[in-house]
């Protein structure tokens, strides 16, 4: 069979750099996602700090207006698409198969393809820095302002194509986790016995596969306008609707908000019971609240467009839906509080971050409900009040939740504990820095400071608060430094974690830390929501390997990275095509062939190089 594959034999080695490039192991892909997200977090953070230096005093001259536009564009795009989403994906990948009792995801190679598309798309977008400039159209890229009539710079093309490629990878990952969670659960692991994190992953995956197609289309239409002269957003010449982009973008963009926050809600819902030593209060309610949030999330997009003049009826309907979505969110918050109530609370670092999440996310949620009231929103539109609101949700919510997850599952991923002492200092520094940075932005917004301005004058009386905010931003940076120190220290001399350092109840703690590549020597049979609390035998040690040895896992594969390279370079060819038609067409043809060859190689690849006959015998 190997001869049919042609030049590339299916690799067998999992060692070294090639082992990582060709890996299809969900745990390694999770680590790749996590490390990539952290690197982009540092990049996006530096972009934020540069903006805060510029705004620290009135009439700042640290960066120019154009550079400032690029900074807020790349800060937003990076944090949404290259940090919070892949950080969520890191947890999905590493944890979901472990938590539902599976040996891998449903489609391991598709999983690898998702990662490579994400990282190549992110690199392509950032590559614009070397060819033109950073994109400077905002993370929402409003057309018609982004059509070539108003934005000549090819940096916008990099933004469109980079986002498109990352989106394809994300959608593929969404399919993978829908199938994995619906179909790969261990015997007895019914949906209503799943921990909350896999539940929220399932809901997020459904959001992804239904919310990303509108973005894909919006980006495609914009691309066609810019490259081929179609008229989708040509308001002046062809009578196009100036709001079309905003509708398409926010039909994606609001579900995206829940794609960013629901993973953190899942993390927190699994951490609270462990450190309260009692089951999650109202498990079923929390699950259904998550599902209701996802459904309603598709019906509130126009609250991003209240000031565009949609008319009273449309505005009222979207205002009502937006207020309604606060209800299931509130249900979750009460469930979390009731979980803590009466528990034997252990104030470990993961719990501190989880409590930080609940309190800060609640503040962000409350200011969100304020925006549901249209007259209030009209007043606050495009001011720093909005910046404050969504940072309370996305930093106070997502990032606090993800950090809680890092402290909670780091021992499972690496086999070593993080320092509790540094962790607690990290929490308080981050908590104080976060509130110093974003709380005053509410006031600045009410005082009238607009978003996205690169400077302000001294007589506007915003100077003191802005300096305070900038100091807060650097305190957040300090807290991230503490996290890095903690991780480095743990790698050198962290104490061994053992199987279940937190005495938690879910399946991932029933196997060694770090888990063997096949996860479970024997697939467990689940009898309750808390297999490790309800069955003492499970909590002690994993069952021994069966007599026929280690479970057989699929071999690594080159094809995911080959296909991702083909797709990315076809986009690269489009960019070259603008400057040099024939060279561009050549690149598109060559890498289009590479991509299609990759698909055929993938389809006819045996499960394992040496076992082609064995697989054949299965049928």
């Amino acid at each position: 069979m190997a001869a049919n594959i042609g030049i590339l034999r299916r690799p067998v080695s999992t060692e070294g750099v090639w082992g990582w490039i060709t890996t299809v192991d969900h745990k390694r892909i999770g680590i790749l996602y996590g490390v990539s997200a952290f690197i982009f977090f540092l990049i996006g953070g530096i972009e934020a700090l540069l903006m805060r230096v510029q705004l620290a005093q009135p009439d700042g001259t640290f960066v120019e207006a154009g550079t400032f536009n690029a900074l807020f564009t790349m800060h937003g795009t990076t944090m949404v698409f290259m940090v919070v989403m892949p950080a969520g994906a890191a947890f999905f990948n590493f944890l979901v198969p472990l938590m539902i009792g599976a040996r891998d995801v449903a489609f391991p190679r598709l999983n690898a393809l998702s990662y490579w598309l994400f990282i190549f798309g992110a690199i392509l977008m950032n590559f614009s820095f070397f060819k033109a400039a950073f994109p400077d159209v905002g993370w929402f890229g409003y057309a018609p302002l982004t059509t070539s009539e108003y934005t000549l710079s090819s940096s916008t093309d990099y933004w469109v194509l980079g986002l498109q490629i990352m989106g394809i990878g994300t959608t593929a990952a969404g399919f993978n986790f829908v199938i994995t969670i619906l179909n790969m659960r261990a015997p007895g692991m019914t949906l209503m016995r799943m921990p909350l994190f896999p539940w929220m992953t399932l809901i997020v995956s459904f959001l992804i596969i239904f919310a990303f197609p509108p973005l894909t289309i919006a980006l495609t239409l914009l691309l066609f306008d810019r490259f081929f002269g179609t008229n989708f957003f040509d308001t002046a010449g062809a009578g196009a609707d100036p709001l079309l982009w905003q509708h398409l973008f926010w039909i994606f963009g609001h579900p995206e908000v829940y794609i960013l926050i629901l993973p953190a809600m899942g993390i927190v819902s699994d951490i609270l019971p462990t450190f309260s030593r009692k089951p999650l209060f109202g498990y079923t309610t929390v699950v259904f609240a998550g599902a209701v949030i996802a459904f309603l999330g598709f019906g509130v997009w126009a609250h991003h467009m209240f000031t565009t003049g949609l008319g009273a009826w449309a505005t009222a309907a979207f205002a009502g839906a937006t207020m309604a979505i606060g209800v299931p969110t509130g249900v979750k918050i009460f469930n979390w509080l009731a979980t803590l109530w009466g528990g034997s609370i252990q104030f470990k670092t993961p719990l501190l971050f989880a409590l930080g999440f609940i309190s800060m996310f609640m503040l962000g949620g409350l200011s969100g409900v304020m925006h549901a009231a249209v007259p209030v929103d009209t007043q606050q539109q495009d001011t720093y009040f909005i910046v404050a609101h969504f940072h309370y949700v996305l930093f106070g919510g997502s990032i606090f939740g993800i950090t809680a997850g890092i402290y909670y599952w780091f021992p499972k991923m690496t086999g070593r504990m993080l320092s509790e002492r540094i962790g607690k200092v990290h929490f308080w520094v981050m908590f104080i820095g976060f509130n110093m940075t974003f709380m005053p932005m509410h006031i600045l917004g009410v005082l009238g400071m607009p978003r996205r301005v690169y400077t302000y004058s001294v007589d506007q009386n915003w100077a003191g608060l802005n300096l305070f905010v900038s100091i807060g931003a650097f305190i957040i940076a300090l807290s991230i430094l503490l996290l890095i120190i903690n991780i480095v220290r743990s790698a050198r001399k962290g104490e061994a974690a053992g199987m279940n350092p937190w005495a938690a109840s879910t399946l991932e703690w029933a196997i060694p830390s770090p888990p063997p590549h096949y996860n479970f020597a024997v697939i467990p049979t689940v009898r309750s929501q808390h297999p490790l609390w309800d069955e003492e035998a499970n909590a002690v040690e994993p069952p021994p390997l069966p007599a026929h040895g280690e479970p057989h896992m699929p071999d690594p594969s080159y094809w995911p990275i080959v296909i991702a390279l083909g797709i990315t370079m076809v986009a690269g060819g489009l960019l070259i095509w603008q400057a040099n038609t024939w060279l561009g067409l050549l690149v598109i043809a060559v890498f289009g062939f590479v991509g299609i060859r990759g698909i055929y190689g993938w389809v006819f690849e045996p499960v394992a190089e040496e076992s082609a006959e064995r697989v054949h015998a299965h049928h």
Partner: protein
């Protein structure tokens, strides 16, 4: 080819094969894909500043191509039934028919696009040109991918890689093919019929005139 993920038995929680469930999820997602394209087209109806618009749609011609595409779905059903019975000859015949009927449909579409270009409608002409040609172009791309897929399956069957034992491969391709057909039914109804009969200032008796415009009727 069966992509086992290390679980020794192939039991799944729902009893459905992973790949089949993946195709259903993909089709669900594709509904949003085409929904967005068709929605954009409908929003932009009757907003054109210049150039030809819906009156140039030919219902008679498109009725023929729609019929051909529908018959290809029938052939797809027969192809799947044949391979499930283990009748490879019949399977190959009907699979070839699906692919050929799909190609005829693409041929009609190319004819239509060329005629429209002669009548002065390109994607750059006006809103109708942009939305109609990009929407139907994406549908045509889906059909073309399906044709390539079916030829690949046919070819693989001669190499012994597609047989009664893994007829699921054919079933999954069939799911895709039927979905692409269904999308066309929606486009034919919503874009062609409502478009041609509901265009501003047009009465039913004008329709044959539209057919003449592209050389038939």
């Amino acid at each position: 080819m069966q992509y086992v993920t290390g679980i020794d038995d192939h039991r799944t929680s729902t009893g459905l094969d992973n790949r089949k469930l993946l195709m259903w999820a993909f089709l669900g997602s594709d509904v949003m894909f085409f929904g967005t394209l068709i929605g954009t087209h409908l929003i932009y109806r009757n907003r054109n500043l210049s150039g030809p618009q819906e009156e140039i749609l030919s219902i008679p011609i498109t009725t023929i191509s729609t019929f051909v595409l529908l018959m290809s779905s029938l052939a797809m059903v027969l192809a799947l039934a044949a391979i499930q019975r283990g009748n490879m000859g019949s399977f190959r015949f009907w699979t070839a028919i699906v692919a050929i009927f799909g190609s005829i449909f693409i041929g009609f579409q190319m004819f239509e696009f060329t005629e429209f270009a002669h009548l002065g409608l390109t994607p750059r002409t006006n809103l109708f040109g942009s939305t109609f040609l990009v929407m139907t172009g994406f549908h045509g791309t889906h059909v073309a991918v399906g044709i390539l897929w079916l030829w690949s399956i046919l070819f693989a069957s001669y190499k012994g890689k597609i047989h009664q034992g893994n007829s699921l491969q054919v079933e999954i391709a069939g799911l895709y093919w039927h979905f692409v057909d269904i999308v066309w039914i929606v486009i034919f109804g919503v874009v062609y019929l409502i478009g041609a009969y509901g265009a501003e200032g047009r009465a039913l008796e004008d329709i044959p005139h539209a057919a003449r415009a592209v050389g038939i009727g």
